[in-house]
């Protein structure tokens, strides 16, 4: 006996329950197998127990079957059985296709007990004789509903089934309210189990996808043999039966097609109306767009970064350039200023010299002499530079007239000598250019250029190896190649040609060459910078460079050449080694010399080629 609830007691949970524990059970017995089955099928609730309970409840319902619809039964025409609702006849109108075989049988039994003609007769009812009694309808109903095939045929054309497909307009408004029942009721035709639900707005993409893929691949068992117009059984002969069969098949196929179309339309409509699909599409689109945007953004940023870097670089370059320019400008200004100052000083000195000379009446006694002296002084003014002018002026101002005159005359002599030398050099240069022109034109087209040195070498060789020497010209050529500084390789033919040319030349020219060779010899061995005296001020730097250049003695040159040969190009630290072999020369000097030599050879070659091209013309 349960107790009475005390006033104020309410339904309440007051404590948590202990969690389940795990035990090992013996793998025996039918309940174990049932458990295993449940577990394998992953049915969460005690599935079998539920199933059994359901069965129990069904059975209890059977007994409460409603059998009050006699009125309807009595109106039935047994001849028109095809159009009757068999479920209604058996009182199962509320169950329809969900009725189990058990229920159908039970209903039929109940019906028979009530409506069998014998029973009614006993109750004193008037019975229509033959097949016209409404009991035939009951028989027909059980006949159809108890046969799975026939029942399926009848279920397929269930008159209460709503074949309607909602329109798009309807679906747009309340998608779920409209379509959910439609899919629910159409799912009864599926031959597959587990029909996916339409779901709600919150359904995941997978769920929606499964739903539509299920419905697009809908496998229906619905068939339309019940609606056959011709009855096969009524045929009188085989041919007729075949014709009927054909007819029926065609109409069934037609109807089946319509049915498939109907389902297809339904799914299409639903798909087009489904707000979730729209949402998924939008989501997808948004996702893609955002992705695209992010990409573009990244690209843009990258470009900006690049641009900025470039700008910064440019700016830096510009700044550096500006600075340089500024410096150069300043330097130029400085130089200009200095130059101006110098100019002014020179002017001043010159003026001073002139006035001094004038004061002393040009150290002359006669008018003519003074004029000449004036000329000389003017020359001095022109030619002398600041320092010497200053010293001269100083000497002039400090010394007596005699001393001054001597100084002036000494300077005048110097200047005159310089002028003379310059003139001579000019003449010499002109002569040299002429002779070299002659030489190059004399060596004939195509042959390599012969410079003086080589000519000297050739003459020397020719004299060294007189006629009658074995393979004389080859030996000469070899000798030349060995001793030449120009690096140009000569073969025997070249040498023969040149020698012949030289023989043809007048003895005067030969003499000249010899003389030049002597001059050069003298120049080189004297080791005196020959041009230092006649150098113009503006050429000073170049002169010093020439000085270094000229300072390469033949000895050194030879050593250098030898070194170049012994240390081929790929020798590591080639120039250090070369410099070590050539005494008194640094690595830098050697490299410079080598470069010059190469430059010279190249220039010569180019000149020769030009000449050759000209001559060819």
């Amino acid at each position: 006996m349960l107790k009475e609830a005390v006033e104020g007691q309410v339904t309440v949970v007051c404590n948590a329950i202990a969690a389940s524990v795990q035990f090992q059970v013996e793998p025996v017995g039918r309940w174990f197998e049932a458990f295993l089955k449940r577990r394998d099928r992953n049915v969460s609730a005690s599935f079998q127990e539920l199933e059994e309970e359901e069965e129990l409840s069904e059975e209890s319902e059977d007994e409460e079957l409603q059998l009050e619809e006699y009125a309807m039964l009595k109106t039935l025409d047994p001849k028109d059985w095809k159009n009757q609702d068999h479920y209604a006849v058996l009182g199962l109108a509320h169950m329809r296709y969900k009725a189990t075989q058990k229920q159908i049988k039970a209903a039929h039994k109940a019906m028979v007990l009530k409506h069998h003609p014998d029973k009614r007769k006993a109750a004193g009812e008037q019975i229509v004789e033959g097949d016209n009694d409404y009991f035939t309808c009951i028989t027909k109903a059980i006949e159809i509903l108890s046969d799975p095939v026939k029942r399926r045929a009848f279920d397929s054309v269930d008159p209460t089934f709503d074949n309607a497909v909602p329109s798009k307009a309807e679906g747009k408004e309340n998608f779920f309210e409209v379509f959910s029942p439609v899919f629910e009721r159409n799912s009864r035709w599926t031959s597959k189990k587990h029909v996916p639900k339409l779901g709600t707005m919150d359904s995941t993409f997978e769920e929606v996808d499964t739903f539509y893929s299920f419905w697009y691949n809908f496998d229906s068992w619905r068939e339309f043999s019940y609606l056959d117009e011709e009855e096969k059984e009524k045929a009188e002969c085989r041919d007729e039966r075949r014709w009927i069969e054909k007819q029926n098949r065609a109409s069934r196929a037609q109807r089946k097609k319509e049915e498939m179309n109907r389902i297809r339309t339904l799914v299409d409509t639903a798909y087009s109306c489904d707000p979730r699909i729209k949402k998924f599409k939008e989501d997808e689109k948004a996702r893609k767009e955002s992705e695209k945007k992010a990409k573009a953004e990244a690209k843009r940023r990258e470009q900006e970064e690049k641009e900025r870097a470039r700008q910064a670089e440019l700016e830096a370059a510009r700044l550096a350039k500006e600075k340089e320019e500024e410096e150069a400008k300043q330097a130029a200004q400085q130089a200009k200023k200095e130059k101006e100052i110098q100019k002014k000083a020179i002017k001043k000195e010159r003026q001073k010299l002139r006035t001094t000379c004038k004061n002393w009446n040009y150290f002359a006694d006669s008018e003519a002499e003074s004029v000449k002296m004036m000329e000389e002084v003017e020359k001095l003014c022109d030619r002398l530079e600041l320092v010497s002018l200053q010293s001269l002026n100083e000497m002039l101002s400090s010394g007596t007239k005699e001393e001054g005159k001597a100084a002036v005359e000494k300077h005048v002599q110097q200047v005159n000598a310089q002028l003379q030398k310059e003139r001579e050099a000019e003449v010499q240069a002109r002569q040299a250019s002429r002779s070299s022109e002659q030489a190059s034109s004399g060596s004939g087209g195509g042959s390599k250029g012969w410079n003086e040195e080589e000519l000297q070498l050739l003459i020397k060789a020719v004299n060294l190896f007189p006629a009658g020497t074995n393979a004389r010209w080859e030996v000469i050529a070899n000798y030349m190649n060995l001793h030449s500084t120009s690096g140009i390789k000569r073969n025997a033919k070249d040498v023969i040609n040149k020698a012949k040319n030289l023989q043809k030349l007048d003895p005067h020219q030969k003499d000249e060459i010899n003389k030049k060779a002597f001059e050069k010899f003298k120049k080189e061995h004297a080791a005196v910078p020959p041009t230092v005296d006649n150098a113009v001020p503006s050429e000073r730097f170049e002169v010093s460079g020439a000085e270094a250049n000229a300072a390469w003695t033949t000895e050194e040159q030879k050593l250098l050449e030898q070194a170049l040969k012994t240390f081929p190009v790929n020798t590591p630290e080639r120039w250090e080694k070369i410099a070590a072999v050539v005494p008194g020369r640094t690595k830098k000097d050697c490299m410079k010399r080598y470069k010059e030599l190469v430059e010279m050879v190249k220039a010569k070659k180019a000149a020769q080629e030009q000449v050759a091209a000209k001559s060819k013309k």
Binding site: M1, L2, K3, E4, A5, V6, Q9, V10, T11, V12, V13, C14, N15, A16, I17, A18, A19, S20, V21, Q22, F23, Q24, V25, E26, P27, V28, G29, R30, W31, F32, E33, A34, F35, L36, D40, S44, A45, S46, E49, L50
Partner: protein
Amino acid sequence: MAAIGVHFGYTCACVAIFKDGRADVVANDAGDRVTPAVVAYRDTEQIVGIAAKQGRIRNAANTVVKVKQILGRSFDDPEAQKHLAESKCPVINKDKKPRYEIDMGEVTKIVSPEEVAKLVFHKMKETAQSALGSDITDAVITVPFEFGEMQKNALRQAAEGAGFSVLRLIHEPSAALLAYGIGQDSPTGKSHVLVYKLGGTSLTVTVMEVNSGMYRVLATHTDHSIGGEGFTQALAQYLAAEFKKSYKHDVTGNPRAMMKLMNSADVAKHTLSTLGSSNCFVDSLYDGMDFDCNVSRARFELLCSSLFNKSIQPIKALLEQVGLSSSDISKVVLCGGSARIPKLQQMIQDLFPDVELLSSIPPDEVIPVGAAIEAGILLGRESSALDQDSITVDCCARDILVKEADDSGADVYTVLFPSGTPLPARRQHTLHGPGSLSSICLELYQSQAHNNTPQEKVAQIVLNNLEPKEENHDIVTVVTMKRDGSLHVTCTEQGSGKSEAVTVAVAS
């Protein structure tokens, strides 16, 4: 289709067939329902069964007995060593595995225990086939509860080697329960069952819990020193003493005479289980002298009384171990040939005065019958294969009780949902409340972890505004527990349809 259950014991093997909804043991070609698990090797043939057992007198060195003791064991195993000491057939060590050395005249044959077992299984298969008249392969094999993985595998391989397709290996005590169909009728309820198995060489006592049709071993005890053979030995010793008394000859030192006496004592022992007295007769036991002696059941019981006491003792210890009293045991299942002995049965009955002793199936046949029933259940299932030998299931941890008042008004607790119920599960109870009341209160409790008396209140359900009526209020209470242990209780008053429900969450 038919399936068979095979019990392969230390001393005997037995086979039962499941056919047409019932399981029965079949007799072998010698007409015996139980076949001795003895294999004798002779020149060219191997003999299994009673012939081998009897032939052991002359052919002890080539006869293998109790092969199950070393089956699947390594040579160094203490059990194997024990067998080694007893075995008349020489055992050698080969790759740490024991092997029998069989003398085949010129050559010695090395035989593995698995091969011996295979021969026994083959004999059982033949027996079943001859009874059915058709080939049979599907079988359920029983194994002792204490068998390890290696031994189970060895047994399975031996059975498969004999041509069986092993549906499953099941434990002997479970098979015994299944033979009586304990817990198989209804999937509700919980009870405790004691399985007492006294075989030829071993005693096994097991306490099992039956809940929702599923079996669970709570505790088990095995003693390899007690068994039917011990009783026979005692009887044989007595007989030898009798012989000495009358003929002044000591035969205890003569193995062949002792073996003859043992066989005779065995037969006498079996007879004494049904008859009050038995006659022992051995032709030319010693030196051409025949031996004839009458043994009464009382004499036998006296001889073995200390052994019997020893056989009973483990029961009490085991019950203490699992914390149950003898009244908590609802059934006692007897199995093993020696459990036939009337004195023993009586001693067990004395221990459990209110409990039914199940011995309607001959105790030595209980296990194979159970195996055959299991084979029948498994037969025709698509996937009878089990990944593991034992399955772990989620079970309810505590009893769920409801507080009620008895006629005198005192509190009583009724179990609605017993502990150990495999989950998920649903139980339905109809509770009654006095019709005069307009409101009823159900108080739900859960039992404490160790002792059942102090309860812990879990929830209360109050049904208000009931119409007072003359007859009782029927309250249908549905208790559902999910796999994690969470509880859902629904109460519905049948008359008015009023209902209340609570869900109790699991303590974290």
